[in-house]
């Protein structure tokens, strides 16, 4: 069921509880969130406020306890495990704070992983990875191992990996926090430039106020809920 054709993510009344140390922790308390297609939304808030849980639910990695979360009109919770995996493999790209590249694969092989997971033959996947690495400026480092790359270069490989299979939603967790200012700016320019093709959306969890200028909207979270609705006016300073 499609809620609205222009919404990449449409969440209503999301709740998620955890058991931690024998006590129930309410990670999400009835979250409402919309991310329109073609937008870069930043999710900000203090540590432990539920940002990671929220993007995990949006990405289909975690199931919410209550509420609905539709990604491009598909309620992930209603899918079987198999269909959810297939949806995630095809439609979602990930960029992590600690890059999470496979250390024994070259940059090109790392970038090709999502295509291989999607069943694309290795030569074709490697060819596509070469092209995307060219786009992120790493065409000369195809055979480099992650340990031979700088932090910024590793994050660019991770970005290439998140884009190689042409996903519709890219989920980024603190993509610049391990990078210096200049590198962080370049990574964000790259993300915004390469990722926001027609029909795509980006959600970035961050504490890094230096990159707020790249956001189309910013949602503030605290204590498991959105405390300030997504604003089209990026905040210049952050309390976090």
């Amino acid at each position: 069921m499609r809620v609205t054709p222009m919404m990449a993510v449409h969440c209503r009344n999301l709740t998620k509880r955890y058991q931690a140390g024998g006590q129930e922790v309410m990670a999400l308390r009835g979250v409402h969130l919309d991310i329109p297609v073609g937008q870069l939304m930043m999710l900000v808030g203090p540590s432990g406020c539920g940002k990671t849980t929220l993007i995990s639910v949006i990405a289909g990695i975690l199931d919410q306890d209550e509420g609905t979360c539709e990604v491009y009109g598909v309620d992930l919770k209603s899918l079987s495990d198999r269909d959810k995996l297939a949806f995630r493999a095809k439609n979602i790209g990930f960029v992590f704070q600690s890059y999470n590249l496979l250390p024994s694969l070259t940059a090109q092989e790392n970038a090709a992983v999502p295509l291989i997971i999607n069943g694309v033959k290795r030569p074709l996947a490697l060819q596509a990875a070469r092209e995307i690495l060219d786009r992120v400026g790493l065409g000369q480092r195809l055979t480099s191992m992650p340990s031979q790359l700088s932090g910024g270069q590793q994050q660019r490989v991770a970005i290439a990996r998140s884009l190689v299979h042409d996903p519709r939603l890219i989920v980024c967790d603190e993509p610049t926090s391990a990078l210096d200012h200049d590198t962080g700016q370049r990574v964000m320019e790259l993300l915004k430039g390469v990722a926001l093709d027609a029909g795509k959306a980006l959600i970035i969890v961050t504490h890094d106020e230096r990159i707020f200028e790249f956001a189309d909207t910013i949602a503030h979270m605290d204590d498991g809920n959105i405390v300030k609705s997504p604003s089209l006016q990026p905040t210049s300073t952050s309390p976090y």
Partner: protein
């Protein structure tokens, strides 16, 4: 995904080599020790195998194995010849007699006395001389291991001179001249084997009322061996075994009455356990260190089935390499030991045995790791 699994496995060199070393060790122990055991057990009945011609061995009913000789009266030979279905029956003497070497040393020898007329029961292969030379006066044939080792004579410079054709021996104060060197299979007993005629062996042997050790029987064509053994037993009151039956009697005696199987069994079990511990622990630790990588793959859409196949592939690769190296090392060991006193026999069944052992280790190692990966929460990729 297979390619990624292989690269992940080989990317961590130290763990990869550690797992392979554990499996190689297990595979080596699980083939080398049983190969020595099988070689040793084969030796227990190698004398029976070497005497290839007769179909049936007849002996005192109390005999428990081939070296447990309980002599019969010579008249028993005629009773056996009288049993219907017997084509021929020949006497065989088997006993320990002391030999005095030319340098004055003594060596106990396993003397085999063959029927004077037919020489049935002789060595399977002659290296020097002919079996018929035993018909010459005082003649004996010595096995090559005895001639080269225990019956050899050390010269003043310490070098060992093998016993040769034409050399003299004294067997229980009887003169004996070596007329041939035979190739025999090593036996469980380490004494040199000396072949001579039955009558000469009786002369050499210490005085006893009975000296006939075994009666070798050939069945008439078309006579069933099992039926003939029953006929011989019922007519003579002696024990009669087919060649295979006598080998089994001897083999079973050593299995039941010696600590050999237990000792080797413990070695094999230890090899399995140590190999499983090293390989299992290292493989598990390898998986633990790669949990984040598996979580990343899971987050990006790789299912549990895919990850399961990746782990099984990794376990199979280290299993095949470790097994191959272990079996290869065992083969090299066997080849290097081929001319020594060490017993070593490597039948194909041992390849299957150790293959199953290594496969079990891999399955155990993979099983522990699989459980961890299957229950892995992909959301961990968002944690730093």
């Amino acid at each position: 995904m297979s390619y990624i699994a292989i690269r992940m496995l080989m990317g961590d060199r130290s763990k990869y080599l550690g797992i392979i070393m554990g499996l190689t060790f297990a595979s080596l122990i699980m083939t080398q020790q049983p190969a020595i055991f099988v070689g040793l057990m084969t030796r227990s009945f190698s004398f029976i195998s070497d005497v290839g011609l007769p179909d049936i061995w007849v002996m005192d009913p109390k005999v428990q194995f081939v070296d447990d000789v309980k002599p019969l009266q010579d008249t028993e030979l005629y009773r056996v010849r009288g049993v219907s279905g017997v084509d021929w029956a020949m006497p065989l003497y088997k006993g320990l007699i002391k030999a005095r070497l030319t340098n004055g040393n003594f060596q106990t020898c396993n003397v085999i006395g063959l029927d004077d007329a037919t020489l049935i029961g002789g060595p399977p292969e002659m290296i020097e001389g002919r079996l018929e030379d035993l018909r010459r006066a005082d003649s004996v044939i010595v096995d090559q291991y005895g001639a080269n080792e225990k019956l050899g004579v050390k010269g003043p410079d310490g070098t060992l001179s093998p016993l040769k054709v034409g050399d003299l021996l004294e067997l229980n104060d009887h003169r004996a001249i070596v007329v041939g060197i035979a190739k025999t299979t090593r036996t469980f007993q380490s004494q040199p084997v000396v072949y001579t005629t039955y009558s000469r062996a009786k002369n050499m042997a210490p005085r006893e009322r009975k000296l006939l050790s075994f009666i070798l029987v050939k069945a008439k064509p078309s006579v069933a061996l099992e039926e003939l053994t029953r006929n011989i037993e019922s007519h003579t009151g002696l024990a009669a075994y087919t060649q295979k039956g006598f080998q089994e009697l001897t083999y079973n005696y050593y299995m039941k009455n010696t600590g050999i199987p237990i000792n080797f069994g413990i070695s094999v079990a230890l090899g399995f356990l140590v190999g499983a511990a090293i390989a299992g622990q290292t493989f598990y630790s390898f998986t633990l260190e790669n949990l984040r990588q598996f979580a990343v793959l899971k987050a990006m859409g790789a299912g549990n089935g895919t990850l399961l196949m990746m782990i099984l592939l990794q376990a199979s690769i280290v299993g095949i390499i470790g097994y191959g190296l272990g079996v290869g090392l065992t083969s090299v060991f066997g080849w290097a030991m081929r001319n020594t006193i060490l017993s070593f026999k490597f039948p194909w069944q041992l390849l299957v045995f150790s293959g199953v052992g290594v496969m079990l280790i891999c399955l155990i190692a993979a099983g522990i790791s699989i459980r961890k990966v299957m229950t892995l929460e992909p959301a961990m990729v968002f944690k730093t």
